[in-house]
Amino acid sequence: MSDRLSRSRLAPAAAGLAAVGLGLAAAEIMIRADWINRFIVPPPSEVARGISRIVLEEHIGHRFLLTAGECLAAGLMITVLGVAAGVLIHRFRLLRQATETWIAAWAAAPVVLAYPLFMVIFGRNAWTIIMIGFVAALPPVILKTIEGLSTTRKVLVDVGRSFNLTGTQQFWKILFPAALPTIFVGVRLGLIFALINIVGVEFLINSGGLGQLINDLAERYDLAGTYAAIFFVVLVSVAFFMTLERIERWLRPID
């Protein structure tokens, strides 16, 4: 019977949701009964009201567009420059040997920690945010582009050679299309890195869209509002992530 339970798709999802629901209900009860200090954790019902308040009063549309714009800018930059750099590095063996490990280290480095430096250079504004998003998100795009181009199955390359394709034709008709799925993975990773860093820095430097919303509400000591804002931003980020996944899955059949 438990075997059948674990095989159905609905039961576990329902159980998960039920658990979350129960948790919220329990929190509501414990806070109202004053077992948990309501000036540290507001009851979920108040937070829910806070959400609608935010949506109506806090220019949420404007903020959303600002953050989205920053992400779009960073996203475009990493795609164009990242793929180009990846192609270039893949082309020259020596260059690849010299730089690939550096770029991998760059991908693992905590770039966002240098945000005060970016603030000095670009000011306390959207440009700092976009540039941090760009610098943090570039390496995965480059690395995945290199990976995609270099892991083309040899047999496909041989097919091209059997038709006597020139170098350029070989690249555009075989290598690049074969590499596209992996390149998309890189762009997706880059976009996620970008969003996380962009929203984070918006919060930290108190400038911009959604990240700044949280800061504003926290500084106003609007408790329920702060929780609501955090919940809202997390929701947006989850939605973004899911959308990217859908897009990637939709694009997959093309390869």
Binding site: A13, G16, A105, P110, L113, P116, V120, I196, V233
Partner: protein, 264 residues
Amino acid sequence: MAATDRLTANARHEPHAASVTLLRAAMILALLALWEFLSHTGWFYRDVVPSLLAIGRAVLALLSRENYYYNLGVTAGEVAAALAIGGGTGLVVGLVLGSNRFLARAFEPYLYYLGPTPKIIFFPVMIMWFGVDSPSKVALGSLSCFFPVALSVAAGMRQIDTVLIRVGRSFRASALQMVTKIYLPAMRHPIMNGVRLGLGVALIGTLLAETKLSNKGIGFLIINAYSTFDMPRMYANLIVLFVLAIGANSLIGRLGGAATAARR
């Protein structure tokens, strides 16, 4: 562009280790020269691009003051605590989710989708719950590193070669013996990877929290240099920080890799 001709030609002559080093040295030198050039043109405001000498002196000054090591200790302690708490919880949760299909389907999606979200935005809540001192930074770091560890461990458990589990059961190993002698060793790669990722995000979470609100730690030193516009000191702090972070990352990677090299 004779890309494929190059491809096959290159396959025959692999670039020499020496030429790689040469190219790298050349690139670094070119970068440094460009920097030094820019710092002397006066195109940038004052100290935004300080001379290499100034930066070098700042690094030395930084490393020779006891105050730096105190702050380093504070941050290191916070990161270690965050890794222990967040990583430890992540390990346990990962083991549970990895071993039970139903629980995994019920709860793992939450972890998977909540993972790639900016955790620093939770900082105001952490301050409310834990105060303005170190505990709130540790809390944020723990929150950050919980997710990658839990997800890596859960995935790692599902990849264990099932025959190894059957060997354990055929010898009637107890549950604890199964975990310590079979599950954990069989998952050493995913665990190492999870720890590496976890360390990275714990570091980021803790440090960002320090830059936002703190009066000690490396994050504080960085934001302090910013507010006093002491650029050479800021560069010095960032350089040392990045060297340490990248060093720690490759050390863990090397440890995990060395473990596998012996077994290959």
